[in-house]
Symmetry: D2
Subunit: 432 residues, 4 copies
Amino acid sequence: MLDFRFADAATFEKTVEFRREFHKYPEVGWNEYRTTARIAEEMEKLGYEIHYGKEIIDEKSRVSLVQIDEYSVLIDKAEKDGAKREYLEKVDENFTGLCAIKKFGNGGPVTILRFDIDALPVNEPEKDAHKPFREGFASKYKGYMHACGHDSHIAVGLGMAMLIENMKDRINGEIRFIFQPAEEECKGGMSVANGGMAEGADYYLCGHMGMNLNKTGLFAASCYGFLSTSKFNVTFKGTPAHAANSPEKGRSAINAAAAFILGVNSIPRHSEGNTFVNVGRIEGGTVRNVVAENVVLEMETRGLNNELNTYMKDSVLRLAEGCAKMYDVEISIEDAGECGSADCSEEMRDMVFDIAKEIGLEESIKEIYFGASEDAIYMMNAVKERGGKCTYMMFGSELAAPHHNCDFDFNEETMRIMEEIYCRCIEKLMCK
Amino acid sequence: MLDFRFADAATFEKTVEFRREFHKYPEVGWNEYRTTARIAEEMEKLGYEIHYGKEIIDEKSRVSLVQIDEYSVLIDKAEKDGAKREYLEKVDENFTGLCAIKKFGNGGPVTILRFDIDALPVNEPEKDAHKPFREGFASKYKGYMHACGHDSHIAVGLGMAMLIENMKDRINGEIRFIFQPAEEECKGGMSVANGGMAEGADYYLCGHMGMNLNKTGLFAASCYGFLSTSKFNVTFKGTPAHAANSPEKGRSAINAAAAFILGVNSIPRHSEGNTFVNVGRIEGGTVRNVVAENVVLEMETRGLNNELNTYMKDSVLRLAEGCAKMYDVEISIEDAGECGSADCSEEMRDMVFDIAKEIGLEESIKEIYFGASEDAIYMMNAVKERGGKCTYMMFGSELAAPHHNCDFDFNEETMRIMEEIYCRCIEKLMCK
Amino acid sequence: MLDFRFADAATFEKTVEFRREFHKYPEVGWNEYRTTARIAEEMEKLGYEIHYGKEIIDEKSRVSLVQIDEYSVLIDKAEKDGAKREYLEKVDENFTGLCAIKKFGNGGPVTILRFDIDALPVNEPEKDAHKPFREGFASKYKGYMHACGHDSHIAVGLGMAMLIENMKDRINGEIRFIFQPAEEECKGGMSVANGGMAEGADYYLCGHMGMNLNKTGLFAASCYGFLSTSKFNVTFKGTPAHAANSPEKGRSAINAAAAFILGVNSIPRHSEGNTFVNVGRIEGGTVRNVVAENVVLEMETRGLNNELNTYMKDSVLRLAEGCAKMYDVEISIEDAGECGSADCSEEMRDMVFDIAKEIGLEESIKEIYFGASEDAIYMMNAVKERGGKCTYMMFGSELAAPHHNCDFDFNEETMRIMEEIYCRCIEKLMCK
Amino acid sequence: MLDFRFADAATFEKTVEFRREFHKYPEVGWNEYRTTARIAEEMEKLGYEIHYGKEIIDEKSRVSLVQIDEYSVLIDKAEKDGAKREYLEKVDENFTGLCAIKKFGNGGPVTILRFDIDALPVNEPEKDAHKPFREGFASKYKGYMHACGHDSHIAVGLGMAMLIENMKDRINGEIRFIFQPAEEECKGGMSVANGGMAEGADYYLCGHMGMNLNKTGLFAASCYGFLSTSKFNVTFKGTPAHAANSPEKGRSAINAAAAFILGVNSIPRHSEGNTFVNVGRIEGGTVRNVVAENVVLEMETRGLNNELNTYMKDSVLRLAEGCAKMYDVEISIEDAGECGSADCSEEMRDMVFDIAKEIGLEESIKEIYFGASEDAIYMMNAVKERGGKCTYMMFGSELAAPHHNCDFDFNEETMRIMEEIYCRCIEKLMCK
């Protein structure tokens, strides 16, 4: 029914295999050692030149680095789980992800295809109702899971590389596959955008499966409404004291935090569009009979655009300062990532929209509201600032549960549609 | 049973008559025009020299001046209600109260007897269960009532003046009756203490009926634990805005006030003794669809001593400043009275305690916890600083309801005991 | 330049005169006695049949009735200010507004033209920079002002009635002019919609000047995003107590209100669209040394549609109940008006849009976001439920300050455009 | 200067040695394995019959059991650090502490001497300014320290047992040494009081060094004002949701906790005496972009007496319930210990006061305000209910820092005074 002119059944079969392999070994942002090594191995097989680490990542732009175990332990584990040591050794500590580059024909444009590769700290359920468990490809890394569909992104990236080989004689130009680390919480996008790979790029193509389109065959040629967001921690530091002997000598960081939390809820809603603020985690104090000295709050703000997010964050910071004064405590703010907004290129959107109609997708729209944050916007803006064009697509799929939920799963057929659309983009952009 | 050596039945009868007259015409602090004029008239009859207004009141020390109606209206009303215009004309605007002075014999000490005279903004009930209504002496000034017993204080003062005439040949020295205005909320005490009447004083006697002693015949020779207190208003000034069109342009004074109110509750309790804070009145904003620009909070702090009250007030001010920062509003603080603490003189306490035993009172104690604020402390401290002695007594009485409650009433028999005790004090202090 | 085919200069001059007259005598909702009488007089002159009070207003649907002075006082004042007693006597107490009806030709549709007539409790400035003052037509009713432009609505209504006379031979059908009382805070709309005038109506035309279109010549043929809103008062009733003698016996309504206010700010923002909540006015407590017994909060919720507003109001009510439990106080809720949302008819919108293009307006759009509440929606829904069609237009104008601001003023030229558009609507809908 | 009739220098030297040994091996409540075994060994040497575990501890009355490591690990460590396995094997898991009993002479009263033995989770500083470090007896258990002086209590207990041997021929009756586990946070006292050792007891003697008396030679024969306290955890359980995609579906446990924390601060101060409440620890939520599902608060209330503490706890529970309603979350309360108040026996107080005067202590008082909680009160009440008498003494000492502070240290001379007082008590109570 659909016109799969490029995405053949055999490659799709291999794509599903890849997806299930990566699903088994989920690695969170900045810890994608096995993932990177395996992708490198596959891409190198197809003749791509692999760029790792500081070649493609700006060290200072990395955000919220966390190493979940000792580096050597992680590397050993990755080797045990099928990654080759020769590739692992090239992946520097917390410099995960890679860029695979290949040139085709004579001259021609530079096209970036971007796929994000990190998993989530979610515990995958061991129950038959959950297909990955039932069919034997559930996570082997307890506490971690590909619950956002990035396993499909990786698989489609690798499938694409195979399909491109089928059309390589027609292509003129350079293709850069960016397998981006640490998308969740927008931790990696800026470091890649500042890492050099945007230079000379003419086109930047990326997207996400699932999201607001809950059926395979639905498609949006572009997204708008990437929420601008700021991530940060607020620490209150008070003065401990015995809670009954001398409470008046104490300055409770917990009391200050409570007033602050209610305070951030009091930031006026904005008439120009949605704004959000959330304190997602709190921890502080020591024991019940001592006035709490320290509290840390992990929080975020968001806005429909950069101005609205700035309005929220500025308000939060003012509230924190005032609260510190009220409760006679000290505050410190630790940034943990920012992510702005970006717009797709109209021209590219229209091209993709036409492609979708040609393939015969059930329902296509030119643009859809994204309503979340996405660090692809860094590269989108970087490419556009350099004169390039971009779009961010959304590929519908039946979802077993919402993204980030432990019951998340999707219809793998979507991956074949993704491949077909990406191939047709390459054709339109790079083939004679 | 009790040994009423001075307080005869006839004077007591007249005292009751006075009490009921003053109960009918209650006037709040700084508005005691009729009250002052009537007292002056009675005291002058007995040969006292009356000092009014700026002679006895320090203008700048008056606190929370309020004129409940135009001066001339109040004066006319007072005349209509039985005060003589010749006395009313001597009572300057908001310079109510008086000091009546008389000298006896040759030389001798100066003794001050102090009685407070103001009423409360309480609505007296019109029901038979309420004795003042049932017996026809309920308030004729709607919305005002002698609900704290100061009508008994006035009556005892006038009764005392009559009784003193009976013992005048034995007395040597000067007696100053201070009928103090504006005791409620500690508004008048400081202005009287700074007004000159403390000069040369050797003894200062005062007290209160009822309070913690709920039976006629109970008595405390002195009080401790006069709570130090600060009265003030906090105003928040924000920025109005349409609540739906542009709430983000608003700075809600109501939100700020809410955070502030919860903030003042968060001031740590003090290990060294009771502390209190209360926001007793709030008013702000205009209409429901506009972000509120202004809010005024009428509040007070208290502490067992001056240090504890200072701790509370300083905390409140810090909280107000922090809150202003949090909610991006402005604050202003308006002082509305302060009242510290004071100690009775041990020697005087013991003398009074002995008197109570001699009279045969059912139960007497040397001292009792006061647990409230009282602006008599200004004069107590002023007299003591000048080498004088003082005590503040408590005279038990059956109360129909707590002080300040609209059902308040007391056992008038208590007034006779008050007179007897005061007379015996005069005897011990001033008679040969 | 603009094609004023109907709205002639002479009528415009008279319209300006009307506008300035009504600007001088602003009357707030349910108190539009002079306004109603003057409109009745003018409409009757033109042969309209006037329906007043219970004929057109459903008594029980009136919301937030307030009589700002005694009825007879207001009537006398209105007469003194130019209204005729014969009309005033027909305007029942708090049944202001009127419906003027006239039939034209043979048969034909029923068209309602709706103009709202109430003013605001805003104090008009007396300064030369303010044109109504400078040109001598500032408010003569201190504390009240036509600060929302309803004076222009009245004037355009009266101007329209004059212009219709010029085209009366071409018209077939019935025209109903509804001069609606009490639009502000959505107090009057429901009572009119339930009052009978929607029966048999085919078309309902209304609109507002100014708003989001800040230039004369801008125009929107319809509005969407009438915010659904609920108005209500929340009263907390606690237990009074002396703030230092027995604070533990008190239950502070002020503390409860503070927690409630911060609580309503904590209602999660909604991902589906704008929601708002505002506590616009607070008053409670008596004096500073008594734990506050009562507090009243005047507040409102809004949402982009009925569901979002219901989400907000339900959350507020739950918070109030929880707060009452927390602080051991009682609550009561008093409704003060509701206003839902409504959609314009596409067909009518397109007709009006075409008219605007024919006139040659500088810039016209089919629809614009309203972003506020408007009780015209009651009649819009009532007409549509009966098979009729409606639209709500927005007529741009230069504004001296935002609506409801005391410096508000507008470009009177807008009124001529309003008249021209309304006339052309009548032509299209009712003329052969 | 002081008359050490019983406490000889040699025993004091041994007491110091004991104190330093126990200081080196601090064990927190319910984990005093080495401590118990060593005490047992020493007491058995002196002919005492040792009762362990369920013989003396009511299993169900144990509160806040925590095993800081596996039982076998702790036992092995204790053996390595000098405890004998034969004693360790008798100490059941979390049944630490012991009662050592010996009978003297014929008949006579039963006297309990109680010493608490647990340490604190405090990190002892390694700096020369800190005497235990400087002199080589600092804690060998990192993170734990005898920072409350219970090491001195153990040492005095053992010293007393030695001194009693010197006077054994004069004694008639039974002496029970209770070495009580888990005094901190009042975790052990109730289980011992319900464990059987109160049966038949005539006298109960106990006390604390340091506290409000900061000089060796100061002494109080009894204490009053043991604060009644409740320890408990409050858990809020809300509903998680993505903080930007669907915040309206979330119910933030963190928001609820914040309102609750400010709520508990709003509990009115009590006019009858000090009350306290503290939230000492908070932890909840998962990541910053998810509405927090769970929060746990570890908290306590206190009051000058049981009624005041009950007032506080009841208020807290009501606030928690109301808060759950407000924020649409669930709550659960987990008790973590209670400790009431108790009064010393006047007769015993006077006896001890006389003893202090006989010894020639610098300054002795009959009673002192304790101002903290102490689980000795359980046994005090148990003994008194059975007709016995008790007192709780306070032994002054120079302190290097307040109790529970990591710099805490004391003047060891105090231990000799403790021994002398306890011996003289034994003499007065049990010797002919």
